[in-house]
């Protein structure tokens, strides 16, 4: 069990500074995020990633590079895995976004999340949201993915702690589990 420290800052009020002060004309945007319809004003420059993190307070999605090179910001956009740092929020009017916060059903972890816990598929955890979302996207693309295919298909997600072997094992186990569930 983990106590203290971690929940600081959760659920606090938004800062009073508004997007229209930016000089750019803000755009009104509607997104469906983890099943919830949200309507907000965005700076046209804001990435989907920063919008999720700064505006919607969904900080589970991480910014590792903001260069499209690490995969930590992977989310599902209309069901497909994408890098949320490489796309502007304003481009996704009406889109459905799933983040790591949207996977578990109540206390019940998604099979991929469960497998990452069981197989210790992380160390520092900073790439983990992206790894998990990428794995969920991969299993949607290829429910019958083989162990040999996983490394290449997960190579867009860097893990500097290099828990790669465990990440593969976790995805293989989750794939197996979801096939059994068919």
């Amino acid at each position: 069990m983990l106590a203290g420290g971690l929940s600081l800052g959760a659920g606090l009020a938004a800062p009073p500074v508004r997007a229209e002060a930016s000089g750019a004309k803000p755009e009104i945007l509607t997104l469906v995020v983890n099943g919830d319809r949200v309507r907000l004003e965005v700076d046209v420059r804001a990435s989907l990633l920063d919008t999720l993190r700064d505006r919607l307070r969904l900080t589970g999605t991480k910014k590792g590079c903001d260069q499209g090179a690490c995969g930590a910001c992977t989310v599902l956009l209309d069901g497909r895995r994408v890098l949320s740092c490489l796309t502007l929020a304003v481009m996704h009017e009406g889109s459905e976004v799933t983040t790591v916060e949207g996977l578990a059903e109540g206390d019940r972890l998604h099979p991929v999340q469960r497998a990452f816990v069981d197989h210790d598929g992380f160390q520092c955890g900073f790439c983990t949201s992206g790894q998990i979302m990428s794995a969920v996207g991969l299993l949607a693309e290829r429910p019958r993915v083989t162990a040999a295919e996983i490394p290449e298909l997960m190579s867009g997600n860097l893990c500097r702690c290099a828990a790669y072997s465990n990440i593969r094992d976790a995805i293989e186990a989750a794939a197996h589990l979801s096939r059994e569930g068919e």
Binding site: M1, G5, L6, G23, A46, R160
Partner: protein
């Protein structure tokens, strides 16, 4: 027993659900954003800086430069702040990317935009861009960490011994700039409450940061709180206070709001540490019987022009193998480079690349198996201290590793193993890392609901210390690990060892162990003195604890739970402190961790990229607290070093010295598909001479020797000896 069990990480659920909160995820009401503006030149002076456009940009609250910054109140202590000057010191520019301004604005986009509007009129001077260009400046460093990390040392008469040796080798090895490249960029959230400052920081060591921050800002240390609960990887680049922290603090004071400053990835690569380039010259002499006679090791590494920072690549040289004579010399050469930082594994990483490669070269010269050469020069005592190692199972590591790897299938000479289009090569190296200690404190509280809480400042950087410290406290108190909470990463908690240098298990772990034992003993004393307790009247040392219950070790049925004991006595909790005193180490011994690496590489003859298809690592680190997290960390350490061996090179422009690949797109670290079968095992023998728990550090020794093991395998595969890392395809061309 919780120790030794493969428990899942205590924070695992938070990490897979996105609930885990890192520094940049922490938010405060009214928080605004800062961005840093960096120098476009590598050396020179700011002739003029124009902030008018930035100040006028939408949403901008402040622009701070060297002209209007608040005064710094101290000068930096070596290595605790990364440089010898605090940020925005004056108009002089000593490296590319040096921060010249911090901009605060209402949104992240506004801050980043305005930082780009700061205009600078530079007076540019020629830079010393590369280590080769800096070599005329090579000099012995002024360095305050002697003698623990010596820069000049001689044992015996290496020159005479070399001259008399049957076989002599004179070799030069090179390593380039390497970057820590943690996934999490450095970040700060600073906020003031009256005259007190709280800094949420990506830090491996909150207590060591505090006096630096307080000193710079002219505050008493107790007015500064540093919080760092979860860190998204560090590898050493979060072991010092960097410019962004101080700039966020002064910016927050100036705008009167909490300020978040997350540095960009380009800035992480540039201004937040790296391992500097190193040139190492090794001369080794051995006799035909395979006995090493002498070694000299002379290194030069790049250092910033303003101060000397040696990279102690000589650290393994005198202590890994039996040698009659040793001479080491470390020099530095000034370059217009940003400040380096200790990087997994400082000194030993690059040093063992050279020593482990040279041993391999000597083995071929003597026509000996590389393991056999190492066996013949095995060292039972620390030669400089003259003390036996507290526990050394290196020979067992060779045996276990050779067996697991299938070393007996190795062909004796290079270019003899082929599988279809692939050349196949086997290589090996030993690993060693001296065990370092630091003072550490912890508190353990046993509560009247039967649970316990551990409190110690050590941030969790991914090593699993929240879990292992929980396990230690669980066993010390006899309370199930699921009933043990842990709080960490905060200067309001007892001061741990820094989470660096493989010190957590030995130092902080010992403090937690002692605190837990003392809490249990205090509970036992309460019980035996309490007439209502079933344990009343027993000698306290006859009281054991397990599953949340105190019991008579002679009559285990007799006992009671902590919960009953505390509630009956009206006690909410029992709190005890533990202190690990590094001065208390047994002076009869020398301390280190050991290991052996075995690598199989495959190299396609047409397209010559090195693939590490199999790697076996065997480590002797005393007792393994948690095999699940330990195996993961060991695999990670091996792969970390694999990156350094095969691809990592923070390339520089030869004219300006500027890093030309400050992006994870271009600075290549291993991806999932680069990783073959990594087999990790332990020769587990508790080392109670080193620590009361019998466990030693793990995170670094696993990465030591990997570079050499891979380079040796490459030579074995195709007969090309690469002495300058990384071993990229351009170095393996067909003759």
């Amino acid at each position: 027993m919780a120790i030794g069990r493969p428990l899942s990480r205590v924070e695992a659920r938070d990490k897979v659900t996105g609930a885990a909160r890192y520094t940049a995820d922490t938010r405060l009401p009214g928080m605004v954003y800062a961005a840093l503006m960096s120098s476009a030149v590598s050396a020179g002076r700011v002739r003029a800086i124009d902030t008018a456009r930035a100040e006028a940009a939408p949403g901008v609250l402040a622009v701070i430069t060297h002209l209007n910054r608040p005064q710094w109140h101290s000068t930096p202590a070596a290595l605790r702040y990364v440089e010898t000057r605090f940020p925005l010191a004056d108009e002089h520019i000593h490296h590319h990317g040096q921060y010249l301004a911090v901009v605060v604005a209402g949104t992240r986009e506004q801050a980043a935009h305005a930082a780009g509007l700061v205009a600078v009129d530079y007076e540019t001077r020629p830079a010393v861009p590369t280590l080769d260009a800096a070599l005329p400046d090579a000099h012995q460093p002024v360095w305050r960490f002697e003698p623990e990390f010596p820069t000049l040392l001689a044992l015996g008469d290496p020159e005479a011994r070399l001259a008399a040796a049957d076989v002599r080798l004179d070799l030069e090895y090179r390593t380039p700039y390497n970057s820590h490249a943690p996934m999490e960029p450095n970040a700060t959230l600073a906020h003031w409450d009256g005259g007190s400052l709280t800094v949420h920081e990506t830090s491996q060591q909150v207590h060591l940061d505090r006096p630096v921050i307080a000193g710079a800002l002219g505050l008493p240390p107790d007015r500064v709180r540093v919080v760092s609960t979860l860190v998204g990887g560090a590898f050493g680049n979060k072991t010092a206070v960097w410019a962004h922290t101080l700039l966020a603090a002064v910016a927050a004071r100036q705008v009167g709001r909490p300020v978040q400053l997350v540095v960009t990835r380009k800035q992480v690569f540039t201004c937040h540490g790296h391992q500097p380039p190193i040139i190492q010259r090794l001369r080794v002499g051995a006799n035909r019987d395979g006995t090493l006679q002498a070694i000299t090791h002379h290194t030069v590494n790049g250092t910033p022009v303003l101060f000397d920072r040696p990279e102690a690549a000589i650290s393994p040289t005198g202590t890994v193998y039996a040698l009659r004579s040793v001479g080491v010399r470390v020099e530095v050469a000034g370059m217009h480079m940003p400040a380096p930082a200790t990087m997994r594994t400082p000194g030993d990483g690059p040093g063992m690349f050279a020593v482990g490669s040279a041993l391999d070269e000597m083995a071929y010269a003597l026509e000996l198996d590389p393991i056999e050469l190492r066996r013949r020069n095995h060292l039972a005592v620390h030669p400089l201290l003259g003390r036996p190692w507290s526990g050394k199972q290196l020979l067992e590591c060779y045996d276990v590793g050779a067996e697991r790897f299938g070393w007996e299938r190795r062909a004796p000479r290079p270019r003899m193993m082929r599988d279809g289009a692939d050349w196949v090569g086997f290589g090996m190296s030993s690993a060693q890392r001296l065990e370092h200690h630091a003072a550490a404190r912890a508190a353990v509280e046993i509560r009247d609901d039967g649970s316990a809480e551990v409190r110690t400042a050590a941030p969790e950087i991914g090593t699993g210390n929240l879990t292992t410290l929980t396990q230690i406290a669980a066993d010390g108190t006899g309370i199930a690990p699921s009933q043990v909470d842990i709080r960490s990463g905060d200067t309001t908690l007892p001061e741990s060892a820094p989470t660096s240098g493989s010190r957590t298990t030995g130092s902080t772990g010992t403090a937690v162990h002692l605190a837990a034992l003392r809490a249990r003993q205090a509970a036992a004393r309460l019980a035996v003195a309490d007439p209502r307790s079933p344990l009343h009247g027993l000698p306290a040392e006859r009281v054991g604890a397990a599953r949340g219950r105190l019991y008579d070790v002679d009559v285990p049925r007799r006992g009671e739970t902590y919960r009953d004991l505390l509630r009956r006595n009206g006690r909410r909790s029992i709190v005890e402190q533990g202190f690990h005193d590094p001065a208390g180490a047994d002076p009869r011994f020398a301390y280190a961790t050991f290991g052996a690496h075995f690598t199989e590489v495959r190299i396609d003859d047409t397209l010559r990229r090195v693939r590490v298809t199999r790697h076996v690592g065997v480590f002797a680190v005393g007792r393994v607290l948690n095999p699940k997290t330990a195996r993961n960390q060991a695999q990670g350490g091996i792969i970390y070093a694999l990156g350094g061996a095969l691809m990592e090179d923070l390339a520089t422009d030869p004219v300006t010295g500027r890093f030309i690949a400050p992006a994870l797109t271009d600075y290549h670290v291993p991806v999932n598909a680069d990783v073959g079968d990594i087999d990790v095992s332990f020769v587990e023998e508790p080392d109670y001479n080193a620590h009361p728990l019998g466990a030693k550090g793990l995170g670094e020794v696993v990465a030591v020797g990997v570079h050499a093991s891979i380079a040796n395998a490459v030579y074995h595969a195709i007969g090309i000896r690469v002495r300058d890392l990384p071993i990229t395809p351009d170095k393996l061309l067909r003759p």
